[in-house]
């Protein structure tokens, strides 16, 4: 194709780079590198292409002799400290980051599109696979949105059970964060300790739902199974031991000069920037914005719980570390309260009284005609959800997680959209890393605790 036809091509497939950013270099396709090119030419981009792409949002580039001596570094997608398949393109001046551009989409599996072809209850297993570190939180966010559309009342026992499992999921997610974050910085022992406790939690999840990770336990209308009788004691045992473990991690890290040197004053994000860039969860609270959905817009009975929302005004990686450590302590306290509340509701109803929405248990299904009919109908035709749109919002371990579900009155969702915290948090990465060293990028990526499954969906 001639250069002109490419220039006029309005298709979104064209690779856009600012013409002024680098001097034009001719190549065999007839296009200039600084001009428009089709994407096929850029599957293996040359250095000029990468510079043009990463610096296109810095218009003065090229005029300053110092920044002209920058180098482009490709980090990922296969890189141990990017926590998944995240590709970062860094423009560095010596060891200082001049600009940074995340490249995502490597894990895009079209979950939102798949949801539109499934019945409402078939979507639940898909939600596990979005943010695979905290599946229960995704289940809950989806269930809350559909329950809002159905106007379904959930009994207290299921609500508190959901709270309990969500807080355990938060602890589990924070343990994965702490272990991998510390490993990135070079403290391998913490990783081993964290995964030891995470294993206990995964065993609890397995006992409750039958699955360690992809639990699909929280369903529309309640939860999928009655929890086993001895599980509350097991959880209590874990919770009683857990504060000692937190102290153990802190004993390894808090006074560790390497840990302090790598974290303190690194990756600063101001409160205004956090709000402008859509950062939520622990990174936002570490920047001094006092907002937690659990406390401020309570869902699933969180208004019955007493807990503190840890915040810090420092806005650096160290502050995010402290906030998350404190959050684990608060989660432990919420779990204790949930267990106390559940103990008082022992023989009450677990799930919503909605036989046309919730699958009957096996015993009923095999002995009662009506249950068999309901079971058959739910499995073969799903259930109809009144037309409308609903947004649910939960405080996930990584931040604010919203599910936006649109119904057109049929048994399949018309649209399911997940607002995942990591997606927005990634936008703030450049602000946090600019002007800092390359090594700090690793610390910052660890501190925002991203899950690429949630970003790419």
């Amino acid at each position: 194709m001639s250069r002109n036809s490419l220039l006029e091509d309005p298709r979104p497939t064209t690779f856009v780079a600012e013409p002024a950013s680098v001097s034009p270099v001719a190549d065999t396709t007839g296009a200039t590198l600084a001009g428009f090119r089709s994407a096929e030419d850029l599957i293996t981009p040359s250095v000029e292409d990468v510079v043009a792409a990463t610096t296109s949002h810095h218009p003065p580039h090229g005029s300053d002799p110092v920044t002209d001596q920058t180098m482009v570094l490709n980090m990922g997608p296969q890189h141990p400290s990017t926590h998944g398949v995240l590709r970062l393109v860094l423009e560095v001046d010596g060891e200082t980051v001049v600009s940074l551009a995340p490249d995502i989409g490597y894990l895009h599996t079209g979950i939102e599109k798949t949801c539109e072809a499934k019945f409402y209850n078939q979507v639940t297993p898909l939600t596990d696979r979005i943010d695979y570190i905290s599946p229960m939180t995704n289940n809950l966010a989806y269930a809350l949105a559909v329950e809002k559309l159905l106007d379904l009342e959930i009994p207290e026992r299921a609500q508190y059970l959901r709270v309990l499992l969500n807080e355990l999921t938060r602890i589990q997610s924070h343990l994965v964060w702490l272990g991998t974050h510390a490993m990135d910085i070079g403290a391998l022992t913490v990783f081993l300790y964290c995964f030891r406790e995470r294993e206990d939690l995964l065993r609890i999840f397995e006992a409750i739902s039958g699955q360690r990770m992809m639990s699909s336990y929280i369903r529309i209308g309640g939860v999928s199974l009655e929890p086993p009788a001895d599980i509350y004691d097991k959880i209590r045992t874990f919770l009683n031991a857990f504060p000692t473990h937190i102290e153990e991690y802190e004993g390894l890290l808090n006074a560790n000069p390497i840990w302090m040197g790598r974290l303190k004053g690194v990756g600063y994000l101001s409160a205004d920037d956090a709000i402008a860039l859509g950062v939520t969860g622990p990174p936002m609270r570490a920047s001094g914005v006092d907002f937690d959905v659990r406390r401020d817009m309570p869902y699933s009975g969180y208004d019955k719980f007493k807990f503190n929302v840890p915040i810090s005004n420092d806005g650096d990686v160290w502050a995010r570390y402290l906030v998350r450590m404190q959050e684990m302590r608060e989660s432990t306290s919420i779990c204790h309260q949930a267990l106390d509340l559940l103990a008082g509701l022992h023989h009450t109803r677990l799930n919503a009284d909605a036989p046309k929405i919730m699958l009957p248990n096996r015993e009923q299904m095999k002995t009662q005609m009506e249950s068999l009919i309901h079971h058959f109908k739910i499995v073969t035709e799903g259930f109809h959800v009144p037309a409308g749109e609903a947004t649910s919002s939960v405080e996930a371990a990584h931040g604010l997680m919203n599910y936006y579900v649109v119904s057109d009155g049929t048994s399949k969702p018309y649209r399911v959209h997940m607002r995942n915290p990591s997606f927005a948090t990634l936008q703030a990465l450049e602000t946090m890393c600019k002007g800092r060293l390359i090594a700090d990028v690793v610390a910052v990526v660890g501190s925002i605790d991203i899950v690429l499954g949630a970003i790419d969906r």
Binding site: E40, G105, G278, V289, M297, A390, Y404
Partner: protein, 168 residues
């Protein structure tokens, strides 16, 4: 007391007049009154429809009314109805602890709306995602390229006329 509004209006209200009367004290209704073309109070969620030409003004008005945090931008494809694409903006007020949804419908022939990245820089990735998956063009976006799909991908997967299994 109802955290969203007090006293709580009946379960669902449709139409600008009904919503504006029942929720006259709501910060978003006061701030955006002139821009709203339609409104809905359904399932305790406030949805305000604005014309696509006024989206930047509406975003600024919402921000001025205290809705300072842009949570999400997404779209719904109402194919074959026209105007086809519904762009939904979910906006949170951290101070008021409330959420509103601003929606705007754009036509399927030339899906185009102004980018609100000048009001909230966080709209950057969200708008790129809507552009990638729905093919809606955001005028004034600093870098409107595909974000999820490969750059040479054919079509926009979340459109309703795009098959679930993809083109074969």
């Amino acid at each position: 007391m109802d955290p969203i509004t007090s006293p709580a209006p009946p379960s669902a209200l449709f139409g600008k007049q009904a919503v504006c009367e029942a929720l006259a004290d709501h910060a978003a209704i006061r701030g955006l009154n002139d821009l709203i073309t339609d409104a809905k109070w359904d399932r305790k969620e406030l949805t305000l429809t604005v014309a696509p030409e006024t989206i930047i003004t509406a975003a600024q008005a919402a921000k001025a009314a205290g809705f300072n945090f842009l949570e999400d931008v997404t779209a719904v494809d109402w194919y074959p109805t026209e105007p086809r694409f519904q762009i939904s903006y979910s906006i949170l007020s951290i101070g008021l602890k409330q959420r509103i949804r601003i929606i705007s419908r754009v036509s399927g022939d030339d899906p185009r709306i102004d980018s609100i990245t000048s009001v909230w820089p966080s709209a950057n990735f969200y708008e790129r995602e809507v552009f990638d998956l729905f093919g809606v063009h955001f005028a004034g976006h600093p870098r409107l390229t595909r974000i999820m799909m490969p750059d040479n991908w054919n079509g926009h997967p979340l459109r309703k006329d795009y098959p679930v299994e993809g083109y074969r």
